[in-house]
Symmetry: C2
Subunit: 363 residues, 2 copies
Amino acid sequence: MKLKIIPVKTKNNSYYINIGFKIFNLENIFSPLKSGDRCVLVTNITISKIWKEKIVKYFLKNKIILEEFILSDGENYKTLNSVNLLLTYLLEKLHDRNSILIAFGGGVIGDLTGFVASIYQRGIRFIQIPTTLLSQVDAAIGGKTGVNHILGKNMIGTFWQPNAVITDINFLSTLPYKQLISGIAEVIKYAISFDYVFFQWLENNIKQILSLNTEVLIYCIQKCCELKSKIVNLDEREYGFRVFLNLGHTYGHAIEAHFKYLKWLHGEAISIGIVMAIKTSEILGILSSFDATRMINLIKNFGLPTVAPKDMNVQSYLKYMIRDKKSYSGKIQLVVPIKIGKLKILKNVNQDIIFSVIKKCII
Amino acid sequence: MKLKIIPVKTKNNSYYINIGFKIFNLENIFSPLKSGDRCVLVTNITISKIWKEKIVKYFLKNKIILEEFILSDGENYKTLNSVNLLLTYLLEKLHDRNSILIAFGGGVIGDLTGFVASIYQRGIRFIQIPTTLLSQVDAAIGGKTGVNHILGKNMIGTFWQPNAVITDINFLSTLPYKQLISGIAEVIKYAISFDYVFFQWLENNIKQILSLNTEVLIYCIQKCCELKSKIVNLDEREYGFRVFLNLGHTYGHAIEAHFKYLKWLHGEAISIGIVMAIKTSEILGILSSFDATRMINLIKNFGLPTVAPKDMNVQSYLKYMIRDKKSYSGKIQLVVPIKIGKLKILKNVNQDIIFSVIKKCII
Ligand SMILES: NC(=O)c1ccc[n+]([C@@H]2O[C@H](COP(=O)([O-])OP(=O)(O)OC[C@H]3O[C@@H](n4cnc5c(N)ncnc54)[C@H](O)[C@@H]3O)[C@@H](O)[C@H]2O)c1
Ligand SMILES: NC(=O)c1ccc[n+]([C@@H]2O[C@H](COP(=O)([O-])OP(=O)(O)OC[C@H]3O[C@@H](n4cnc5c(N)ncnc54)[C@H](O)[C@@H]3O)[C@@H](O)[C@H]2O)c1
Ligand SMILES: [Zn+2]
Ligand SMILES: [Zn+2]
């Protein structure tokens, strides 16, 4: 059985990311859990139905007390209201500071559970068991937690590190294809942003990834976790370096938000956002057309969208881009690739440039 | 003009506590604020009416942009619902991560504002301007933030340090006497817990404190801030040392909670709680009767309650005491004085002892 373990050091904490296939059959995978611990599995209906039994065994065998809290499925339940429901549950069941939350699901469950863990009695432990590719390579790593507000996505949250991440690629076998592809957008993001060799490797492993080849997938996820952890370690609280994780996200968030998070999956929107960042760099003469084309081809070859939605005008982008958490007093800040594997921050991008990039991408 | 400045170092942050009289006439008191900064004064109706003009001048003079967000007055507004109102306000006004919240009020405002600061866009800066004695000596110091839940007080919160604390004893001139006395309970707590000399000093300065003598008050508050900061510095996240700040609070919280936070002010309940902790120690033969009497006399001489409420039975105490955040798997943990200026942790206090202590205190 393949098992990769990545140690992660953060300011107040250090923990392990375990990556493997059917790893819940292994011993001692949940390093911080011990016999007698009280845990609450936070999950949604979809995931619970398919996968709960598989992991419950592990808890039983290790005499860890496991309760379950089930949320409705969907991004529109990542709200302060759901937070309140979970908090109320924890108080009703008299959970104290020693209880441990287990986020069992995709990024929605992970973000919400992490947030609740960070504010319940001023902070309790939690473990991430990400079940989507997106959460395995991104959302479960780095300690960003949060929920949405009607006026903005992820506007409420904290930085709160998990005490372990347990990633089993077996979960991906039941993940809708569209969701899998969505996760790949983040994978490509890492490659374009930080690692030429990984980019090349992706070009050569498209089929294997899409067919969930065990060895290839484990390597792919491991690589992403390492790249992300390195950046997070330099800048846990997003004062600087961490903006380098945002390739495609300023444009992408605008698309997601404009369609009220209903039409485009995160990865799909980010995929288009990455293309826009690439084009921005190209128009400004920073990125060569050769590299730009090669990047966009990789995105296309994975089946991800590269064309901007036709039913969203350029003005709509700006509205959201100015409100971005990373924007600074009305100026639009963007990270763009300067070549494959290397990024640059543009502190104040001219709105005309953004207009022409978006127009180019609509065709 | 007297101004005392206490530097505070925390894990991720360091800041100053400024203590003085009419200090808003001074320059550079708000160290982290600079011209052009966007601030939101979070306060309540009562405080805004009396004091807002006094501090607004400072902001105007220093060209700091100041908006105001007014909450209803009272502990029953320290809720997730108020949090949501403030978050919505911040988003509506397009506040970004550079905005700064100013908590202008007592502990209710301070706790809530600090909590919102810690979760708005994953954390923004905030400044404490405590206007009650209790918040000047306690709530504004140490980085505990939070709100109440129907099922428990302060059950939702974070550790989030302010970027400055500005304490003006002038605010106390309009504070209801009952509220002033309530704050003194915490002052006495510090003295009994940590500092014999300070205890003696309190015995000799009761009149001066109650009549708000400037010099005496500034010294008193400074002393409390120093004592609290020292403990917090050793244990920001309440894993150990910080329990030493809880003298009287396990009993006290039970009283507050039983009467739904309506009948007893925090300091009043804590005052009775301290008496109960003293008696616990005395009954167990840890504390001498001489010291016990001297402590209780100081509490009495400040006009604080020392007798337990008659309309609360012993069973009701236990219900809350077991649910205490500091309790550990059903055992009741208490800090008790072993002499004036020194505490001891009792990890598992026998319920019979607690019963007889409470009975003794009802008479
Ligand atoms: N914290 C971070 O750093 C970070 C980073 C990126 C994204 N995010 C957040 O993550 C969220 C998106 O995460 P996501 O893409 O995982 O979406 P998601 O959590 O909504 O999961 C997508 C869908 O797949 C289902 N699902 C999950 N695992 C499954 C499985 N194994 N088999 C079958 N169905 C399964 C879910 O029930 C859901 O319907 C967004 O809210 C985004 O803001 C957070
Ligand atoms: N964070 C911590 O470490 C900590 C420590 C202790 C207490 N607390 C919290 O603090 C709260 C109690 O704080 P508090 O005692 O300051 O109560 P409070 O904030 O409710 O203030 C008491 C009353 O005095 C009024 N007031 C405040 N300043 C005034 C002034 N200068 N003139 C006239 N009226 C004024 C307020 O409007 C209110 O009606 C509780 O919620 C408690 O949980 C927190
Ligand atoms: Zn993303
Ligand atoms: Zn207190």
